[in-house]
Symmetry: C2
Subunit: 315 residues, 2 copies
């Protein structure tokens, strides 16, 4: 089996499935496993020091001969060093987010790197197209982690984009965890999906076991898009979130919020497993996730769901 | 052309398209036009006095011989009278929302009325199934007007429901305005869609021309889910919303919010066209809506989009 789309042809992969490059979860083990299973594995450089990124790229190359990517949030403090690193190591794909796609797209592309940019709105998608990215990842309100201020849901965002004649591939992201949802997104103009939360819940992700176990138990309404005054982020409503909420109810300033957030909150939660004090970033689709599987099992199940969905004719 | 699904068979309609029964917009003209065009037209009883509902039902029956429905929010003050009215007038379909489906389902069904119940979560969908409703309308965060506290988006909600073996039809609602989105929802287990905002923007809806013109101009991020302490509602960020926000920032109590909201805010905005002082309820998909068409044109366009989407094989 092979699923041929604009995205698979662009990236030279077998299945149009990108693993979201999430902070503290997406190292060489996860990325290489996804690439070996026919998707695009992605290293999450947002939580790596330059030296760690270099090491992760070298490890990933040792573990897979298939294309893989690196996700670089453009607000990253040592951004120049990350950009130099991916160019030096000839990383096949770079996914940029949270910033201006004009900054590095041309430079990366001039070295043969394919550039995808994450957007939360049609407005930003048009800007990314103008910046000559190779593809757009359209990510909705339901996604975990950092998110757009417009609060466009994935369903609304895809319909908005579909009316415009984009020539480059559109990848749907946010709230996707099943093969039937991938087919649904295809029918609204996407030629691939990016999944974060679903890949976080694998054996190969470096998220802490405490965190994965908590995600298993999550239900509807257990995540929320918060911290909108700083940079909107979807997280679990744990004790840390309760203290954020308390500050809001006191009418806190953005400075007070920033100081509560501090540094290392996401690491503490996701990587170190502190479920009380940590910032626990995960998507709304976590309500559906109740197992931790290998990447291979995940891909097989997902592709089976997709295949079944394509065969269904009676609604 | 005819689209045969579990929903069309349940309701005896040609196309699996329900027009949302919205306050101040959904009278006999709109409902009968939708039913005459092969969908299910729905009167919005939430903004009608009992006498007005009776009149609207009689008018609707005069204008169409096809099935139509009445939407009754279960928190309606004169609920008993509305229930008696739909039974007396043998309304084919009743859509209940914002309340406990156990209250009236059996009574309505014992008179041959088909009952659909609107839910915002899997949890409430399971309760509705237990209450023996004939079908479930699963409405996501992106929908206009009253909404769930869980903030499940339509995409997430559909995937959550799809994993459960519901025997009754599931109707997708919230953020849907194109035929391709209907096909997408079918692939996630829906057998029909309900659209509100898209039908509000028709010649037949009784929303004020000022309001319709404003909706034409809306873009991404122009609506928001607010008033979560009272009953969450999606509305346009106009001056009235700014005053709600101001109260929030002062740390207002729910009583203060309730007093600002007062009575008749939705009527003032939607029906009387006061874009400053009115509460302007509309869905997030309003960013896509930039024309006011007849119901017939809307249905033809929508069905063409659906047909095209079913033929697309290359993504």
């Amino acid at each position: 089996m092979k699923i041929d789309t604009k995205l698979t042809r662009l990236l030279g992969i077998k299945y149009p499935i990108i693993q979201g490059g999430m902070v503290w979860t997406s190292g060489a083990d996860l990325a290489s496993a996804v690439s070996n299973a026919g998707g695009l594995g992605v290293l999450g450089a947002g939580s790596m020091y330059p030296e760690q990124l270099r090491e992760a790229i070298i490890n990933c190359k040792a573990k897979t001969t298939f294309p893989f990517g690196v996700n670089i949030p453009l607000m990253y403090p040592d951004i120049e060093e990350h950009i130099t690193t991916v160019i030096e190591h000839k990383v096949p794909v770079v996914i940029t987010s949270a910033g201006n796609p004009n900054l590095f797209t041309k430079r990366l592309r001039s070295h043969g790197i394919k550039v995808l940019h994450v957007v939360s709105s049609l407005k930003f998608a048009l800007k990314a197209e103008q910046a000559e990215v190779n593809g757009i990842i359209a990510e909705g309100f339901e996604a975990g982690g950092h998110n757009g201020r417009e609060e466009n849901t994935t369903l609304v965002l895809l319909q908005l984009l579909y009316r415009h004649p984009f020539k480059i591939p559109i990848v749907a992201a946010g709230g996707i965890a099943t093969g039937s949802a991938m087919l649904a997104c295809f029918h609204m103009g996407a030629s691939g999906v990016q999944m974060g939360s679903r890949f976080l819940m694998t054996k190969e992700s470096t998220a802490h076991q405490n965190f994965k176990d908590l995600v298993k138990s999550l239900g509807e309404g257990d995540t929320i898009l918060s911290l909108k005054e700083l940079a909107p982020v979807r997280l679990i409503k744990n004790e840390f979130y309760a203290s954020v909420l308390e500050l809001y109810q006191k009418g806190a300033s953005t400075e007070e919020l920033r100081s509560l957030l501090g540094r290392g909150r996401a690491k503490k939660g996701i990587y170190e497993g502190d479920l009380v004090e940590g910032e626990l970033e995960i998507g709304q689709i976590s309500a559906l996730l109740d197992d931790i599987v290998s990447v291979e099992t995940l891909m097989t199940t997902f592709l089976k769901e997709y295949e079944l969905a394509t065969q269904k004719k009676n609604f």
